[in-house]
């Protein structure tokens, strides 16, 4: 990441920080998905499933970013 701007901070500290946020995002995603699916309220299922899946997927992306890009950078 060279140039006038450092768009994404890299390095082990940044990787750890981002990973922790990713983990938090996944925990929230799993919890709200569980509540929505087991209560089976239609509105919750329709709205919360994409939201929960997005939060879990965001956590996955942070892992990818942290171990592949930031930590190696």
């Amino acid at each position: 990441m060279s140039g006038p701007f450092q768009l994404f901070p890299t390095g082990p500290d940044a990787a750890t920080r981002v990973l922790k946020r990713g983990v938090a995002s996944q925990i929230v995603g799993i919890l709200i998905l569980s509540v929505a699916l087991f209560t089976k309220v239609p509105l919750l299922m329709v709205v919360v499933i994409p939201l929960g899946a997005l939060l879990v997927a965001l956590g996955m992306l942070t892992w990818l970013w942290a171990v592949v890009w930031a930590d190696a950078g």
Partner: protein, 194 residues
């Protein structure tokens, strides 16, 4: 059983994620990376797939469709022992998967039909919570014969049945959607009997 497995998997995943938050200082070591891979990618991925499958199967159930009060009459019409009502005859005689009767008969074949059903479901949920529900429902589009033909299309009583021989072009017309199955085999739901 599925619910129990999914709950257990969710609990294990959350425990591992909490451990990961507390234990990992940096994902630079091989063990840490592997642990993070399992806790953040593999387990949540498997869990998400399981939940999507579970949610999909739950949302196809008659009980889900009739959980909105607007659909109560249609749901109850499945139990009317009225020999003219197509939906009830299919449902009561087990000609359609009873758990998924609404979905099977209101979803056109193929992936496009699946996506269309999901989009129509989204629309229905929006109207249920935020819109104005009409007193009488109408299908958003003419009932597609393809839904009937996915089961009956190759059946002998469809291809060779006396009622389908005259006029000679009737079967082709039905397949082309120029004549509706419901013109002769209706009504679909016997709501008047309520």
């Amino acid at each position: 059983m599925t619910v129990t497995i999914l709950l257990l998997l969710a609990a294990v995943t959350i425990v591992l994620l909490v451990v990961l938050t507390r234990a990992i200082r940096s994902p630079s070591s091989g063990i840490a990376r592997s642990f993070a891979l399992v806790a953040m990618i593999i387990l949540p991925g498997v869990w998400l797939l399981g939940m999507f499958g579970y949610a999909d199967s739950e949302m196809k159930k008659v009980s889900f469709c009739t959980s909105c009060h607007e659909m109560k009459r249609h749901g109850e019409s499945l139990l009317n022992d009225d020999h003219d009502a197509l939906a009830a005859m299919h449902y009561l005689n087990n000609r359609v998967d009873q758990k998924k009767a609404c979905y099977v008969c209101h979803t056109e074949p193929g992936l496009a039909g699946y996506v269309d059903a999901k989009l129509r479901g989204l629309h229905d949920v929006r109207v249920h919570y935020f819109g104005e529900v009409p007193e009488e429902f109408e299908l958003v589009a003419p009932y597609d014969n393809a839904v009937c033909l996915q089961c009956h299309g190759e059946a002998k009583n469809f291809l060779e049945g006396m009622g389908h021989q005259y006029p000679e072009t009737l079967i082709d017309d039905l397949k082309a959607g120029e004549v509706s199955c419901l013109d002769c085999h209706g009504p679909a739901h016997s709501l008047e009997a309520e």
